[in-house]
Amino acid sequence: MWRWLHPYAKPEATYRLVEKLLPWFAALTFISLAVGVAWGLAFAPADYQQGDSYRIIFLHVPAAIFSMGAYAGMAIMGGIALIWQIKTAEWSIPAIAPVGAALTVVALLTGAIWGKPMWGTWWVWDARLTSELILLFLYIGVMALYFAFDDARTGAKAAAILSLVGVINLPIIHYSVEWWNTLHQGATITKFERPSIATSMLIPLLICLAGFLFLTISLVMMRLKNEILRHELGRPWAQQELEKN
């Protein structure tokens, strides 16, 4: 495995791999989101309690899940950066953080807009909503720390440590609906029992989940390409790459 992985510690090799994979992930993003969103908005049946307002679920749940998934990925990269000192892992931190922050904002916004008609309020300071808001602050903190030092590698290390410490927030978000009294409903699909959602709604939701996964990967890849080029600006390959288009 090391023989296979080791070349990707070289920034140019990672860049070429990302460049090769990105069009495929971008295509998958457009296809799955178009199908999932159209299905969820127009073809899935209305909910017997929430009517058509529940259709926000097709954005809210995928955004919330991958706001946490992106954080887990960023923390893993932070760990790799600290243990093996691999530069491309360091650079993936500022590539992932803004994407994760955007997903967190989408989850919070769609949640607030869904909360207004269903709970009668845009916002409550309960466990699920507050812990998701803390996730947004963690992302902002990681980005701020990364760029807060004159020495880029010191900043990367500090950001990696914060991203690892912040992992504690992920189980808190997930179990917040069980540990504390909350307005937020319990888990629908991220549990070991059968999903508590009708199949006619579950299928478009799963397609939207796949769409957000591909979207997250595509955006991170786009940003990682920039990040690699930014650090390799003095090298001929990066200059050639930037002149190409």
Partner: protein
Amino acid sequence: MPFDSFQDFIIMGGYGLYVWLSFFLSFVVIALVALETAIARKSLRKKSQQLQNRQQRLAKRQRSVSQ
């Protein structure tokens, strides 16, 4: 199809404002991230150009000094 007409689809059983607002805002947020990434790529290209011009100027000056 749960909707009888296009108008029904827009109204969303009275929840139209909430549903469409959440889809619109989500799109805006994601689009902003993608846009920022594209702009960053453009400014990198500019920076790379400046760096190369500077290196060429330096090389020229060095040649003229050594002659």
